[in-house]
C-alpha cells in the first residue's frame, strides 16, 4: 500500500472519482459489464455548481430568484484533499510509445488541466498541444464504454473467460497462429509481458505498427552502424543545424527539450546565435523558423543530402570517399549554391553542427546524416540504444503480418496498435485480411474502423485513468498514475496481454508494482513513493554510445540511389502527419480539431496544399474542390495555396476522412490519405493526378490575410541590422502624448513580454489557454464565419517578395491590456474596466453584448458568444471545466484576462503567508506551456522581475504604439541570423 501522499487513489478506489460519486453507490470500478455511464447526473451537476464551474444560470443570476442548490460533503474526507484547493499529480502521456512527463491538476478528483512536469527531462515544465488535449479526450462522451463481441455488449469477465479458453488451446499449439499487433512501446512492464508471452507461446509473434513509422530511422541506423540506434538531439551546443524534413521545432512528442535549447540560441542577447537551415517539401514549423530554407520535391531531398555529403567529402578528410557523390548528384544552381554554403558552414561549426533527418526520409539519407554528424564530431547528435522494444514498425512488418493473415496462418490476432484498418496503406488491404482472422481482439478508446472488424472490442482506459510505465525519449523510466477512476471502465494494454497468461484479473497497478518491486526490492516502499511523486526514476536515461560508422556500406547504398528521377511527369504526392490530430488518433478531440494548423491555419479538416506556382499551372484557386488520384479511387480535397511549398507536388495530411461510427465528431471531416499511400511509398511518390471538380469546397481557416501590408505588426530583422532596427523600435515604445489622466499603480503592475525570436509558432500556448479558461469550441461552420473563440491566437505573416519561398514571422496575440484601453470608454454598462493593477478586466456577468468594445479594439482580440456554445455539454463533458473560471453565457463578450484567476489565487495564498508574490511564482497558462519560454509574465513594479527587464530590452516594442494605447504586453523583435554567403 503506497502512502497517500504520493497519490490520492492507491488502493482506495472509492476516492478516485470526484466528490459527487459519493452521491450514489459507485459502480464496481473494474467490472466492465454492459454498464451505461453512471446516472448520477443530478448529483454531478450539483457538484459542478458547488464548484462554480457552471454558469448556465449566470445570465439570470442577476434578476431571478436563485434556484435551490445542494451541498454534498464527503463522508470521510481524504486527508490530502482540501475542497476548493486543487492538487497536482505527476503522470505521463504516451505517443508512439514514448512518454512525456506531465503534471496534471485535479479539482476534487477531476483532472482539469495538463501541464509539463518541471522535473521531467522530456518536458521540463513545457508541454505540447497534443498532451494538453488529453484531458478533453478523457471526458469524451463518445468513448467506447462497453466490451463488445461482434457488436454484442459483453462483460470484461466474459472476455477473460474467452481469452483463457483461447489461451489453453493456443498453449497446446505452442502459440501457433497467435499474433500480436502492438503500438510502438517502451514500457518495461509490457516488455516483461512480451517476454512471458514468448515463453508461454514460443510460436507466437509480435509485430509493431504505427501510421507514423520509425522503420526508416531503424534501417538507416542498421545501414550506418549495423545495429539499431536512435539519435538524441541536444541543441544546447548547436550553432549550425540542418533539418532535412525534420520537424524538431514543432511541439510534437519528443521535441520539447530541443525547442527549449534552440530558443536560447535564437536570443541575440544570449551569446552567439545559432543558424538553422531547412530543406523540405512543405512548409513546416521548423521551416518557418529557418534562416535559410530550400524547398524541394520530396524525392529530391535524398539526392540533396547525398550531394551535400559529397561536398563535405571535399572538405572533411574523414568523409573524402564520398567526394564522388558531388558529380553523381548534380544539383540545380540555386540548390548547389545553397549546398556549397551550407557545407562550409557545417564544417565551420564542427562540434556545433547537426544534420537532423525526418522519419519520412529513406534510410540512405539517415545513414548519410549519421556519417556527417560523426565525422564532424557533432556534440548535438548523441547516439543511444532505442528506447522502443521494437523500432522496426511500419508497412514492412505489417505486410508480412497481412500476408500471414490472408494465408490463414493467423488464428488469433491481438491488436493494441491504434486503428490499423484506417491507418494501413491502401495496397495492404488490412481490413479485408482482418475479417479473415477467426479470432481477433482489439483494444481501443473509440469504436473505430478497426473495431468494426474485430471479434472482441475492449474499451481502453484513458492514460489519465491508467497505471503504467514507459520510457521517455531519453530513456528515463516514467510512470503513469491515474487521476480519476475509470469513467466507463476499460482495460490497459498490460491487462489485455495478461489475459492471455490467464492473469486478466491482476490489475495493471498490481502488475506494475510487482514488477518494480522485483527490480528494486530493497527499500521499495520508499522509492515507489518517490517515483510516483516525481513521476519518473532519476538517472535511468540510456547512455550515449559512439558506434563505428560503416562508411563503405553507406557509400554503397548511396551509389545505389538513382542520380535523377526516372522521368515521371506530373505531380508527386507528399503525405505528412497532421499537426493537430497526428495520425488521426486525436481526431475526436474538439480542441485539436479547432486548433489551427500552425503553418496554414487550417481547422476542422485537411486539404491539398500546393504552391502558388503549381496552383497557377493547374489553374486552381484557394478553396477549389479537386480530385486527387493515385491508383485506386480518387479522393475529394479542397485546395489550400501555401506559399513556401515546393512546386509540382501536393501535400496532404493524415488522420482525416474517418468512417468509424464511434467518432461522430471527426467522422466525415476531410479526406483519407491512405488511398494515396502504398506500403512501398508510404510518404511520397510520383504519379499523382489532380482534376478540378469545378466547384468550391471552402476550408475553415482562422487567418485569411497573410501580409502585414507594410505595417509594423510583427517586427522582423536580421542580426547585422539589429542595431538600426532597435533604434527604429525606440520610436515604438514608451509613453505617448495623451490627454488621458495616467493611472497610478502602487501595488502590482502586471505585464507580459513575448519574444518573437524565441517563439517558433508551434501554438501550444493556444491549447493551454483554451484548457485553462474554459474557452468553448464553436465548430467548422462558425470558424468559416470567423467566430472562433480563441483568446490567444498565433498570427502568421509572410514577408518578402518571393511568394514561392517567403520569409515567415508569427506573433502570439491576446489582449495586450492597454493602459488607455479603447474598449473601456465605449462600454455603456461598465462591463470592461481598468483594475488597480492595470488589468483590462472583462466582467461577463455585467456584459450586455453591444460588441462596441470589440469594434473599438485595434487588436481585435475580443471574442463574442454569438450562440450558447456550452449549453449542450453533457455532465461528463462539464467535468473538464476549470472551476476558477466562469463559463460564459450567450451574448457575452470575452477575452484574455492574463489568467486573473491564477493572480487571485496567488494573491490570497501569499497574503495568508503575509508576503508579496515572487517573480516567476505566478505564471499564465500560455507561459507555462510554451516550450521556448517565449512568453514571460510578471510584475512591472518589481525592479528584479524578468518581464521588466524584457520591457526595457532594445528589441522590445509596443504593438500599434502610435495609437497611444500603452499595451502592457511588449513584443521583442524577431531576429534572423542569415549566412552572409547566401544573404542576398
Amino acid at each position: 500500500m503506497p502512502s497517500l501522499k504520493s497519490l490520492p487513489i492507491a488502493g482506495q478506489q472509492k476516492l478516485w472519482r470526484s466528490v459527487d460519486e459519493h452521491a450514489t453507490p459507485p459502480a464496481p470500478a473494474r467490472e466492465l459489464g454492459p454498464s451505461t455511464p453512471p446516472d448520477d447526473a443530478t448529483s454531478r451537476r450539483n457538484v459542478l455548481q458547488l464548484l462554480g464551474a457552471s454558469a448556465a444560470l449566470a445570465t439570470l443570476g442577476g434578476c431571478l430568484k436563485q434556484p435551490d442548490e445542494k451541498i454534498l460533503p464527503y463522508t470521510k474526507q481524504p486527508p490530502e484533499i482540501t475542497p476548493g484547493n486543487p492538487l497536482h499529480y505527476a503522470t505521463a502521456s504516451l505517443i508512439d510509445g514514448r512518454a512525456t512527463g506531465l503534471l496534471v491538476t485535479a479539482n476534487e478528483g477531476r483532472p482539469t488541466k495538463v501541464e509539463g512536469n518541471p522535473e521531467h527531462p522530456s518536458s521540463r515544465g513545457a508541454v505540447g498541444h497534443l498532451e494538453q488535449a488529453e484531458v478533453l479526450r478523457l471526458y469524451d462522451p463518445q468513448r467506447l464504454k462497453v466490451v463488445q463481441n461482434r457488436a454484442v455488449a459483453r462483460s470484461w469477465r466474459d472476455f477473460l473467460q474467452a481469452a483463457v479458453y483461447q489461451a489453453r488451446g493456443l498453449r497446446l499449439r505452442q502459440g501457433e497462429g497467435l499474433r500480436f499487433l502492438l503500438e510502438p512501446n517502451s514500457s518495461p512492464l509490457i516488455g516483461q509481458l512480451r517476454q512471458r508471452l514468448r515463453d508461454t507461446f514460443p510460436r507466437a509473434r509480435f509485430s509493431t505498427w504505427s501510421a507514423v513509422p520509425l522503420q526508416h530511422i531503424h534501417d538507416g541506423a542498421q545501414l550506418a552502424f549495423g545495429a539499431a540506434y536512435e539519435t538524441r538531439l541536444d541543441l544546447s551546443q548547436a550553432s549550425v543545424v540542418l533539418s532535412l524534413d525534420s520537424d524538431l521545432l514543432a511541439a510534437l512528442p519528443g521535441t520539447l527539450p530541443a525547442m527549449a535549447a534552440w530558443a536560447e540560441k535564437r536570443d541575440p542577447s544570449r551569446g552567439p546565435m545559432g543558424r538553422l537551415y531547412a530543406v523540405e517539401t512543405n512548409l513546416t514549423v521548423t521551416g518557418m523558423n529557418a534562416d535559410h530554407r530550400l524547398r524541394l520535391k520530396p524525392t529530391e531531398l535524398q539526392r540533396f543530402g547525398l550531394a551535400l555529403l559529397g561536398r563535405l567529402g571535399a572538405l572533411v578528410p574523414a568523409l573524402s570517399p564520398y567526394a564522388i557523390l558531388t558529380q553523381r548528384f548534380a544539383l540545380a544552381p540555386p540548390a548547389a549554391k545553397f549546398a556549397d554554403a551550407l557545407a562550409r558552414d557545417l564544417v565551420k561549426a564542427g562540434r556545433g553542427a547537426l544534420v537532423s533527418v525526418g522519419p519520412r526520409q529513406p534510410p540512405a539519407l539517415h545513414a548519410a546524416a549519421h556519417a556527417i554528424n560523426t565525422a564532424l564530431g557533432s556534440a548535438c547528435a548523441k547516439l543511444a540504444q532505442p528506447v522502443l522494444h521494437d523500432m522496426d514498425a511500419g508497412p514492412r512488418t505489417l505486410r508480412q503480418l497481412t500476408e500471414e493473415m490472408r494465408s490463414g496462418a493467423v488464428d488469433t490476432l491481438v491488436i493494441t496498435a491504434w486503428n490499423p484498418v484506417y491507418g494501413a496503406p491502401a495496397d495492404l488491404n488490412f481490413s479485408k485480411a482482418l475479417s479473415l482472422v477467426p479470432h481477433s481482439v482489439y483494444r481501443t478508446l473509440h469504436y473505430d474502423e478497426t473495431a468494426d472488424r474485430a471479434e472482441w472490442v475492449i474499451p481502453s482506459l484513458h492514460p489519465l485513468e491508467s497505471w503504467g510505465d514507459a520510457r521517455a525519449h531519453d530513456g528515463t523510466v516514467t510512470f503513469q498514475q491515474p487521476l480519476i477512476s475509470p469513467l466507463y471502465g476499460g482495460a490497459t494494454e498490460a491487462e489485455v496481454l495478461a489475459a492471455f497468461l490467464g492473469e486478466g484479473d491482476r490489475s495493471a497497478y498490481v502488475q506494475l508494482r510487482e514488477l518494480w518491486q522485483s527490480r528494486q526490492p530493497d527499500g521499495f516502499a520508499m522509492r515507489w513513493e518517490k517515483w510516483l511523486g516525481d513521476g519518473f526514476i532519476e538517472g535511468t536515461a540510456t547512455k550515449a554510445e559512439t558506434p563505428a560508422v560503416r562508411h563503405d556500406q553507406i557509400l554503397a547504398a548511396a551509389v545505389q540511389v538513382p542520380p535523377s528521377d526516372p522521368a515521371t511527369p506530373g505531380l508527386q504526392v507528399n503525405v505528412v502527419p497532421d499537426y493537430r490530430i497526428w495520425d488521426g488518433r486525436f481526431g475526436n478531440v474538439a480542441w485539436l480539431q479547432e486548433f489551427p494548423d500552425p503553418v496554414n491555419k487550417l481547422t476542422w479538416g485537411n486539404a491539398a496544399q500546393i504552391s502558388p506556382e503549381t496552383a497557377r499551372k493547374l489553374g486552381v484557386a484557394q478553396n477549389d474542390g479537386v480530385d486527387l488520384g493515385l491508383r485506386g479511387t480518387p479522393v475529394h480535397a479542397s485546395v489550400v495555396i501555401e506559399p513556401g511549398h515546393a512546386d509540382d507536388c501536393v501535400t496532404v495530411s493524415m488522420g482525416y476522412g474517418r468512417r468509424g461510427d464511434g467518432e461522430a465528431l471527426c467522422r466525415g471531416l476531410g479526406f483519407d490519405v491512405s488511398a494515396l499511400r502504398s506500403s512501398e511509398a508510404p510518404w511520397f511518390g510520383p504519379g499523382l493526378s489532380v482534376t478540378r471538380m469545378g466547384r468550391k469546397a471552402p476550408v475553415a481557416q482562422t487567418q485569411e490575410h497573410h501580409s502585414m501590408e507594410g505595417r509594423l505588426i510583427a517586427a522582423l530583422t536580421t542580426l547585422p541590422k539589429l542595431k538600426e532596427t532597435s533604434e527604429e523600435l525606440a520610436e515604438h515604445r514608451g509613453p505617448t502624448l495623451t490627454a488621458h489622466r495616467p493611472h497610478e499603480y502602487p501595488g502590482y503592475k502586471w505585464g507580459m513580454a513575448i519574444d518573437l525570436s524565441r517563439c517558433t509558432g508551434c501554438s501550444s500556448c493556444m491549447v493551454a489557454c483554451v484548457s485553462e479558461n474554459n474557452i468553448p469550441v464553436v465548430g467548422r461552420e462558425q470558424v468559416i464565419k470567423s467566430r472562433e473563440m480563441h483568446w490567444l491566437r498565433v498570427d502568421r505573416y509572410f514577408v518578402g517578395d518571393d511568394l514561392g519561398n517567403p520569409g515567415v514571422v508569427f506573433q502570439p496575440l491576446a489582449c495586450v491590456h492597454c493602459e488607455f484601453a479603447p474598449c473601456e470608454y465605449v462600454c455603456p454598462v461598465n462591463a470592461t474596466v481598468h483594475s488597480d493593477e492595470g488589468l483590462n478586466e472583462m466582467v461577463y456577468n455585467r456584459c450586455i453584448g453591444t460588441r462596441y468594445c470589440s469594434n473599438n479594439c485595434p487588436y481585435k482580440v475580443r471574442r463574442f458568444n454569438f450562440f450558447s456554445y456550452t449549453s449542450n455539454y453533457g455532465d461528463i463533458e462539464k467535468m473538464v471545466f476549470n472551476p476558477d473560471v466562469t463559463v460564459r453565457a450567450r451574448g457575452v463578450m470575452e477575452k484574455c484576462t492574463y489568467c486573473v484567476q491564477r493572480i487571485e489565487r496567488a494573491r490570497i495564498r501569499t497574503r495568508l503567508e503575509e508576503r508579496r508574490i515572487r517573480d516567476g511564482e505566478l505564471r499564465t497558462a500560455c507561459q507555462q506551456a510554451c516550450p521556448a519560454e517565449a512568453i514571460v509574465f510578471g510584475d512591472l513594479n518589481d525592479p528584479s522581475s524578468k518581464v521588466r527587464k524584457l520591457h526595457r530590452e532594445e528589441r522590445s516594442y509596443d504593438l500599434l504604439h502610435e495609437l497611444g494605447t500603452r499595451p502592457r504586453t511588449a513584443y521583442l523583435a524577431r531576429v534572423m541570423n542569415p549566412n552572409p554567403e547566401l544573404a542576398s
Binding site: H705, R793, V829, T850, F866
Partner: protein, 466 residues
C-alpha cells in the same frame, strides 16, 4: 410691351401654394375626404403586404431572441452590421419631420404647412423602427435596461462616457418630442373630424383625443404658444440627435469612423434621406388622396431643392473624408479610403453610395427634373438606397479590414438580417397606411389658416396677387 412684361412676371412667379379656389368648407371636405371615404382596394392590398412583412419582422425578431445574435451575419471583426445600419438609416429618415415642423416653422416657411403632418407622422414611425435595433442588437437584450441609470442593488451605474449611453437619451427624447409635436398639431383637426362625423363611436374616439377642443380664441392662444414652444424645443434636437448618433462612430478609434466631419455630415445626410423619404411617400399619396391642390409642384420643387442642398453637403463630407485621409498621411486611414472602400471586396457598395448620393441629386439643378413627378420619385428612392449603403460602407467596410491584417474577414448577411430590414420597411408602411386612413394627412387647420393668409377674407379673385 407691358403685356409681355406681365407675362414674364407671371412666369417668374412660383406656382401657388394652394391651387384653385377654396374656402374652409371645401378644404375640410377635400382634405378629410380620405378619412370618410371607404378606402380604395389599393390601400387594402398595400396594408395586406405591409402586415405580412410585419409578420416576417416579428418572426425574425423571435428567432434572434431565441437563438442569439449568431443568427445574424455579424462576426469578429464585423461586430456591427445590419442592426446598426438600419438603426442609423431609420433615425436619419426621421429627421425630415422635425426639420419641417420645427425649423421651417420658425423660419416661417409657408410651404411647410401642407406637408408637415405627413413628415411628422413619418418621423414617428421611422424612429419606432430605429428604436427596435439598439435593444435587439445587444447580445442579452433582456439586460438592456442596465443602460438606464437607476440605483441598483449592485450599486453600479452605467458608463456615461460611452456614446451608446448618450444615444439612449438622445433617441428617447427625440421620440417623445416628435410625438408631442405631432399630437398637438393634430388636436384642431381631431376636433373637426369629431364634429364632422355622424357615427357616435367615431365621435367619442376622436372626441377623447381632441381633448375637448372648441376652437375658442383661448384655445387657439394656448395652442399657438405650446406649438411654438415645442418647435423651439425640437429645433436643437434636429441637430443633436444625429450628431450623437454620429459620435457612436466618430468617438471610436477605428479608421473610417474616427472622423471629425461626421456630425455635420450625418445631420445633412439625415435631412437628405428624410426629404427623400417624404417625397417617396407623398408623391403617390397626393395623387391617390387627391391632395394635388395643397401639395403642389411648388412643394415638390422646394423639397427637391432641400435634397439638392443637403446632398451637396453630404458630397462635401465624402470629399473631406478622403482629403483628410490623404492629407493625414496615416497608413490606416489611407488604407480605408483608398484601398478598402474603392478597391476592396465591397467596392460595389461604395460606388452604389457614390452614384446615388452624389451623382443622382445633381439632376435637381434642372427645374424640369424638380417638377417632373417620375424623375423626382425615382431620384428620391435612389437617394434612400444610397443613404443605406453609405451606412453600410461606414460600418461594415471599415470594420472588415482594420489595423491588424490577420483579423481581416468578410461579412455576409443572413436571411434574418434581410428579414429585419424588409420587415421594418413593411412595419413602417403599415403604420403609415393606418395613419393616412384614420387621420388627416395634411394639417387641415393650418392649411385653412394659410388660405386665409393668402387671400384674406375676400373670395379668391384669380390672377397673380401682389
Amino acid at each position: 410691351m407691358t403685356e409681355s412684361a406681365l407675362d414674364a412676371r407671371a412666369r417668374l412667379e412660383p406656382p401657388r401654394l394652394i391651387q384653385g379656389e377654396h374656402d374652409d368648407g371645401t378644404l375640410n371636405k377635400t382634405l378629410n375626404d380620405f378619412v370618410w371615404r371607404a378606402p380604395p382596394p389599393g390601400w387594402f392590398t398595400l396594408l395586406l403586404i405591409g402586415m405580412a412583412g410585419t409578420g416576417v419582422l416579428f418572426f425574425a425578431i423571435s428567432v434572434t431572441l431565441a437563438y442569439g445574435i449568431g443568427m445574424w451575419g455579424n462576426n469578429i471583426p464585423v461586430g456591427w452590421a445590419f442592426g446598426i445600419i438600419n438603426f442609423v438609416w431609420w433615425i436619419g429618415i426621421g429627421h425630415a419631420g422635425t426639420l419641417i415642423s420645427a425649423i421651417l416653422l420658425l423660419f416661417q416657411q409657408k410651404w411647410r404647412t401642407s406637408i408637415n403632418r405627413f413628415a411628422e407622422a413619418m418621423t414617428i414611425f421611422a424612429v419606432m423602427q430605429a428604436g427596435l435595433f439598439p435593444v435587439l442588437h445587444t447580445g442579452r437584450p433582456w439586460f438592456a435596461y442596465w443602460m438606464i441609470p437607476y440605483p441598483t442593488v449592485q450599486s453600479v451605474w452605467p458608463q456615461f462616457k460611452s456614446p451608446l449611453m448618450w444615444d439612449v437619451f438622445a433617441v428617447s427624447t427625440y421620440f417623445t418630442t416628435s410625438l408631442l409635436f405631432w399630437y398637438i398639431g393634430l388636436i384642431p383637426d381631431l376636433a373637426s373630424l369629431r364634429d364632422a362625423t355622424y357615427s357616435r363611436r367615431a365621435r367619442r374616439i376622436y372626441g377623447i383625443f381632441a381633448l375637448g377642443w372648441r376652437g375658442s380664441a383661448r384655445h387657439w392662444h394656448h395652442y399657438k404658444i405650446a406649438y411654438l414652444l415645442l418647435a423651439g424645443l425640437a429645433t436643437p434636437l434636429v441637430l443633436s440627435v444625429h450628431t450623437i448618433v454620429s459620435w457612436d462612430f466618430a468617438l471610436s478609434i477605428l479608421p473610417g469612423w474616427h472622423t471629425t466631419i461626421f456630425p455635420p455630415y450625418f445631420v445633412a445626410g439625415a435631412v437628405f434621406s428624410g426629404f427623400a423619404m417624404v417625397l417617396t411617400l407623398i408623391i403617390p399619396a397626393r395623387r391617390y388622396m387627391g391632395l394635388k391642390h395643397v401639395v403642389t409642384e411648388r412643394h415638390l420643387d422646394n423639397m427637391a431643392k432641400v435634397m439638392l442642398c443637403t446632398g451637396l453637403i453630404v458630397a462635401y463630407g465624402y470629399v473631406m473624408e478622403h482629403f483628410a485621409a490623404w492629407y493625414s498621411g496615416n497608413l490606416y486611414e489611407e488604407h480605408v479610403f483608398f484601398s478598402t472602400r474603392p478597391r476592396g471586396p465591397y467596392a460595389w457598395a461604395y460606388f452604389t453610395q457614390m452614384f446615388c448620393n452624389v451623382v443622382v441629386p445633381q439632376i435637381f439643378w434642372l427645374r424640369w427634373a424638380r417638377r417632373n413627378i417620375w424623375t423626382l420619385w425615382v431620384g428620391a428612392v435612389l437617394v434612400n438606397v444610397g443613404m443605406w449603403f453609405e451606412r453600410f460602407n461606414i460600418i461594415v467596410t471599415s470594420l472588415h479590414q482594420d489595423f491588424i491584417p490577420s483579423n481581416w474577414a468578410m461579412y455576409y448577411p443572413t436571411w434574418v438580417d434581410f428579414s429585419l430590414l424588409f420587415g421594418t420597411i413593411c412595419f413602417f408602411g403599415t403604420l403609415f397606411l393606418l395613419f393616412l386612413k384614420y387621420l388627416p394627412a395634411v394639417a387641415v387647420a393650418e392649411v385653412k389658416e394659410l388660405n386665409h393668409e393668402l387671400h384674406g377674407d375676400r373670395p379668391y379673385s384669380g390672377g397673380p396677387h401682389a
